[in-house]
Symmetry: C2
Subunit: 127 residues, 2 copies
């Protein structure tokens, strides 16, 4: 198996994935600039991380142009699902419901958020 396969992304990797999900495919320097806002990181560091992520299969790379273009491989949704499942597993005995309860009970949700969640639950009830 390749390096770190089947493992959740590290903090650095996740920060990069967030950028890629938000911006779509991008070059190293673009990613690095964007990352600067939330997580200052040198150019070669970002590059190295992307190279490792490529090895791990977390991103794809288009080498057509001189400036390689990286893109997140896993769909955002798939990855986030697995992150939530992972936390549920590690901290909530595998129960996503418990995780949700915990999240809701501590948080000050906006009315809008709360309404959205209620709608979602209503839809689930219908099925």
């Amino acid at each position: 198996m390749a390096r770190g396969s089947n493992r959740r992304p590290t903090d650095g990797e996740l920060a990069i994935l967030q950028v890629l999900w938000a911006m779509g495919p991008a070059t190293v320097s673009t990613i690095q600039e964007k990352l600067e806002e939330s997580r200052p990181t040198g150019y070669t560091t970002v590059l190295k991380l992307l190279q490792i992520m490529l090895e791990k299969g977390l991103v794809t790379r288009d080498e057509t142009e001189r400036r390689h273009v990286y893109a997140a491989k896993e769909k955002e949704r798939v990855m986030k699902r697995s992150l939530v499942a992972d936390l549920a597993q590690r901290a909530f005995g595998g129960s996503t419901a418990k995780l949700v309860m915990q999240a809701l009970s501590e948080e000050d949700l906006s009315d809008r958020d709360r309404a959205e969640i209620e709608t979602l639950l209503k839809k689930m009830r219908g099925e």
Copy 2:
């Protein structure tokens, strides 16, 4: 600052915390036996982890008896809140609501769970 302070617990540490939260204060061998079910780990490894967790302030230790008794320091709720907040930060742009939406939309909740969550939301709406 002490070792790894302000950092989220590692997988091994979290596994131990889960045992301590479930069983209350316990000796190394008790913890190790319990852990065997979910995460086979040798005795000295568990011991070492606990010693490190003590340094980090994740657990307390009662040395009165020959067999030291370890206990989770942070309240379960506090730690779990910070874990959820951490994931929201790292993967959902800081939005707990988005995290919850993601968790709910993918999961097959039992009717009971769904009802419980709806009750919680209703209560929040009242306030």
